[in-house]
């Protein structure tokens, strides 16, 4: 802070607002343009530094070379709030260009030291909480919940296109505003900004609050969209049919199976199961569960009641169709 003022007083090289915004724009656009396994966002970082390098070292070939090389090292962080690192780096570059004792090592270690925590916080907030929340909002506006459950078939019904549009607008506004704020604050306030925010526990509070909200929405989504119906019926005596779904499971707790399935899936994921492995296993279970080995072949999709273990779209209706009784 004081150093930038000093630089201004001396009438030396200063980063203008335009340079900073230009740098932010480049980063926002091209942060993942050349995303690669070797150094992840390294070339994007160097690209974002181009307006800064031109302002500070423009015309000096040796310094330009050094600056470009300095910023082509391994870098990976959250594209939005990670911009605070760019802001800090720009401030350090400005000090360096004005003759202060800022070594290459100091700049690189600041970048590497901050990129991990920023990626952790940023990915949790934007990818882990805000995106699913807004997606859930978009899905509900689209009308998937109510309509699709009634008919079970998507081909006949249409959703509300405003759902995706609403999601698009909200997530874009969130990402751009957060990104710009952190980029400029990083430059204005320097490293102290990040350490003070991290120390104050504000981020922990934000993450905790967002986790509470996120958990409520995930619970609701589980109830709305995870559907497991047992089509299995047991013939007890002459005309009494026990429907496992309604007569046993729903008596214990409505929706016991979906809730159990989600918690089980979470538990397996936490134990290191790969989601793709789970996807394959679940699809196989669904198909095996649909084999009609207990009764007649279904004539249409919702007709599987009583002939297979699992049942799509809804529970078996107590007034069972006569085809079920023929067995």
């Amino acid at each position: 802070m004081s150093s930038t003022e000093k630089a201004a007083n001396a009438g030396e090289k200063r980063i203008t607002k335009r340079d900073l915004v230009m740098s932010w724009l480049i980063w926002t656009f091209f942060s993942h343009s050349n995303y690669n396994y070797e150094r992840l966002q390294a070339s994007a970082f160097a690209h974002a530094m181009v307006p800064i390098i031109k302002r500070l070292y423009g015309g000096d070939k040796e310094q330009t070379r050094e600056a470009l090389q300095r910023h082509l090292v391994f870098f990976n962080t959250a594209p939005d709030i990670g911009g605070v690192i760019h802001g800090i780096t720009i401030a350090m570059e400005e000090q360096k260009a004005n003759g202060e004792d800022v070594t290459d090592n100091a700049i690189t270690s600041t970048k590497t030291g901050l990129m991990g925590p920023m990626a952790g916080i940023g990915d949790t907030i934007s990818q882990g909480i805000v995106t699913p929340l807004l997606i859930a909002l978009g899905i509900s506006v689209t009308g998937l919940g109510a309509e699709a459950q009634k008919s079970g078939d998507l081909s006949g019904i249409t959703g509300n296109p405003l759902g995706p549009i609403l999601y698009f607008v909200l997530i874009s506004a969130f990402t751009l505003l957060i990104g710009y704020f952190f980029y400029t604050q990083g430059f204005k306030q320097g490293r102290s900004f990040v350490t003070s925010v991290l120390k104050s526990g504000l981020m922990d509070k934000v993450i905790m609050g967002a986790s509470v909200l996120g958990n409520i929405v995930l619970g609701a989504l589980t109830a709305q969209f995870v559907k497991v119906y047992v089509g299995w019926t047991v013939h007890a005596g002459d005309n009494t049919t026990v429907y496992i779904q309604q007569d046993v499971l729903d008596k214990i707790l409505p929706g016991l199976l979906p809730l159990g399935l989600v918690v089980l899936t979470w538990w397996l994921l936490m134990r290191g199961w790969h989601p793709i492995k789970l996807l394959v296993i679940y699809v196989i279970i669904c198909i095996v569960g649909a084999i009609p080995f207990m009764g007649p072949q279904p004539k249409y999709i919702t007709d599987a009641c009583g002939s297979s273990i699992l049942q799509p779209y809804g529970p078996c209706q107590p007034p069972a169709p006569p085809t079920d009784e023929s067995k």
Binding site: N34, E38, S43, A46, H47, V50, E62, T64, R65, L72, A119, Q127, P132, L133, L137, G138, T142, G143, L144, A146, A148, G152, S155, T158, P161, G163, P164, S172, D204, I207, M208, G209, S211, L213, N215, I216, V217, L218, G219, A220, L221, T222, A223, V226, Y229, P258, L261, V262, W266, L269, M270, H274, P275, C286, I287, G289, P292, L310, P312, Y313
Partner: protein
Amino acid sequence: MSKTAKVRWRLSRNAKISLTISTLLVIIGIPTAVQAMTLTEAAPTETVTISLFQAILIGLGYYLSQGPWIAGLSFYTLNRPLVAGLLVGLILGNPGQGALIGAAINLIYLGFISAGGAIPGDPGLAGWVGTTIAIAGSLNYGAALALAVPIGLLGTVIWNARMTVDSAFMHMADRAADKADVGGVIRANVLYPQAWLFLITFVPVTIAVFLGAKFIGDVINGFPVWLLGGLAIAGGILPAIGIAMNMKFIFMGTAIPYFFVGYLIMVVLGNEVSIMVLAVIGVALAFLHVAFLGDRVKTAAKPESKKLTKAKEAEASR
């Protein structure tokens, strides 16, 4: 002197091109979105055949969902099946249905998180190609979801091809930096990787959608009824994975009970609560929770960050 002048001109041209493309997309996007509102009324039930022009638009859309041209926001927008579904629907003349199918497919990718460059399947490809096949073959809810899974897996191949080859452009950037060639670094960051990305996204998707979408839809519709029923069951079960993947990041510490609170609110009120009502309840509870925890929130959030880094390491190591 002339060298630097040339470099400056090149930068501004790059910036201008990206800005122009983005502005054009927004300008085209708004009227089409408005048109979408009016189109919802018509719901054609006959099967859709995909013209070459439509296939090209879908291929282009998938490229944009991976590229930087939407202000770098494509990862959060066009890459999500919810948005991709709407756009595919627009291209095929049925935006309402596209949005609905996209919303359904998005449930599997609800907890999609790209950490350290490793992705478990590609929601973008699942959204763009999955919705196309679902509309072209008038598939049911479950079949569309079950189909989106292998398609998303194919997307991982494209992603790996991109991440691997892009490493070569890093070395071009190094060589440009050795010569203090600013324009060379910019070209290595934008021009070459984007040309490569265009090649591996636009070309295969356009061809696959033009030649294969109808065929795959027909094959699936030819399945026996019980198998279609099995896919429909999968439609109810697969969202569990999307939700659980998201839970991996937030179902922790003192926030755990709220998952069951949200679940019971929905079950007790019979699935009729709007998500906004739920969000308001959620914000209120979140505020109370943080206020009551006070400074203990830091210790409560501690295992969270540890688990997160562990999960990230596990993802990155794959």
